[in-house]
Symmetry: C3
Subunit: 257 residues, 3 copies
């Protein structure tokens, strides 16, 4: 049975501070639309991004990383092989890795690849409801279905939207921070997946790590919304908030259920 | 004979509202310099961008799109084949498609490709005067030459600069909105081509669709200029204005001749 | 013996004005993370960026450029061949070219490529201390070692960080402008390398050209820091400052030693 998780906002604030001071290196195999923004999001938090997708270089980069992101946007043959090698190295070294099946609903080859990669048991899988349907099956957007799927796949499932839902085995958590302007900026979800990977490197407890990533990201969004006049000014304000939000801000603002 | 078109600012304001509420999906085969900004421009207006260039995925993406952009910046072999397939699908499904021959003056292979693609009768062709010379011939920057060429190619021709000129068959329209700071930000023209594609999906009348795109884009530029201290702060202010400009702002500010 | 260079802040201010009015075209073979930001940095100064990496187009683009940047981030086979051709054309035409061995410490194939390209005598080589160790040897971060290496390679060596050090043959210069927020924004170093290339096109004296690039870039950073609330708002403020800093600002703010 799905059971609600009780994660304390103070534990979240501590985890954010640990992630900032640990400064994890996150290697990101991600699409060219998201690369620059993802790097800036990680840097704003204090993490260290790298982004190469070159086949003969991927091994050196993943070996010196603390976490790995695999995002399926703008795929090509090279990237598929790079992904394969990168996952093998991450697993050999026990690095956390996150799968982000961006836009999987739009392309059959991507669905096949996504399903195959889910079978390799990512530490976490982050997606929105539309994407979830295609890799996890018809009822994946129901929280109960997520816990069933988390148990069968072994992955933490992170479905993000107006409300974020996290399922790890039988545990369910919900985070209700965020801003509607996040839908008007490209690569917000892609960059969040990289942040989740970084938090998984800094904190072993998957639930605490992922909830902390969701709270920080969502709070930065709602904070940015109060300063922004639209999706343009939202972006710099969002990065500023990722950089500046204090433990007190997090404790006061976290909306975890 | 070229004849001036009379397009009412109220019709433009209505078309902008239609484009915002229709939320067209615009698939963009565009260069890696422009991808992120183009996606954010489309999202700010309320359109839905997708950007993959992978050969075996392009068909799925174009099939679920309402319009297609083909931009020739940062070409490679894969992109050329992807372009070929994408245009075939767009034409089969009667989707509007826009050709943007970025930097065609700098590369002979690109000139050849551009000429070949012009022969496939894009719904619209957007370029600046320097680019126009290379695909359309020496005198293409004269408005009269544009109408002759529009008649012979069947494409709407959109030459943008301090003044934008639109030729559709014998009709000519001019839009005089915009800001000099737009020349100091990369990919402003590339992203405009994607916006034109989105408007062509939302409104069947090509003249009205394209003039509406040019007015919204140019007005967002002049509005952003009043708020900006330079090309850096111009970008967020420009995206905010694309998002926020009201029907009244458009009616008051449109400079159509 | 290493000897300190005396470069006058007034000469720097004049050189910045020359670079702005000359408007050099800088062709950049750079990574996809850095492309958009690099283009906006060059445009903010008044330079003209181009970015194609396509093999059959590279020759046309480099032929119409005034300077060339080779950055090794996100490499692939095509880019390696494009680099080869681009350098050959630049050397044939006596264009200045800058090598930026981004992240060379993370990948052996990149180290090999970097060493081979250093052998082709770039006009300047820009790197941070971590990267320098891998292409120049263990003690490369000592200023004296830099002058030895500059003499043996024939390249100007530009090591950037909290303090920038420039070695040209026996001459050493230091620039102490800049901001710690520059470490929290991706591609700041990559874009600086493109700026150095542009200055080398505008000014023949390598020391003066490079010191001027470093001063302008660093001053824009410290100016932006005073206006920013974090790394997000730093970026637009930085581009605004590149665009707006006056000769008087440069003379008053340059910290050259």
């Amino acid at each position: 049975m799905a059971k609600p998780l009780h994660i304390d906002a103070r534990a979240v604030a501590r985890t954010v501070e640990e992630a900032r001071s640990f400064r994890p290196s996150v290697h990101c195999i991600t699409n060219t639309v998201a690369q620059n923004f993802t790097a800036n999001v990680l840097l704003a938090i204090g993490m260290r991004p790298s982004m190469t997708v070159a086949l003969d270089e991927i091994s050196g980069f993943v070996k010196s990383a603390d976490a790995l992101l695999i995002n399926l946007g703008t795929m090509d043959e090279d990237r598929r092989t790079a992904i394969d090698d990168a996952i093998a190295i991450a697993q050999e070294r026990n690095l956390p890795w996150v799968l982000d099946p961006t836009f999987v609903e739009k392309s059959e080859p991507r669905q096949n690849l996504a399903k195959q990669l889910v079978g390799r048991k990512p530490t976490a899988l982050r997606f929105n409801p539309g994407e979830g349907q295609y890799i996890l099956g018809a009822h994946s957007s129901e929280p109960h279905a997520l816990t069933v799927l988390s148990r069968s796949t072994g992955s933490a499932l992170v479905m993000t939207g107006a409300e974020d839902v996290l399922a790890v085995d039988d545990d369910l958590a919900r985070v209700r921070n965020g801003s509607p302007l996040m839908d008007r900026v490209t690569a917000m979800g892609c960059a969040l997946s990289a942040v989740v990977a970084g938090f998984l490197a800094a904190e072993n407890d998957r639930q605490l790590a992922i909830v902390s990533a969701l709270v920080l990201y969502g709070l930065a969004g709602s904070e940015a919304e109060t300063r922004a006049s639209g999706p343009g000014s939202f972006v710099p304000a969002f990065l500023d908030a990722l950089y500046a939000l204090s433990a007190d801000d997090i404790i006061a603002g976290a909306r975890i259920a």
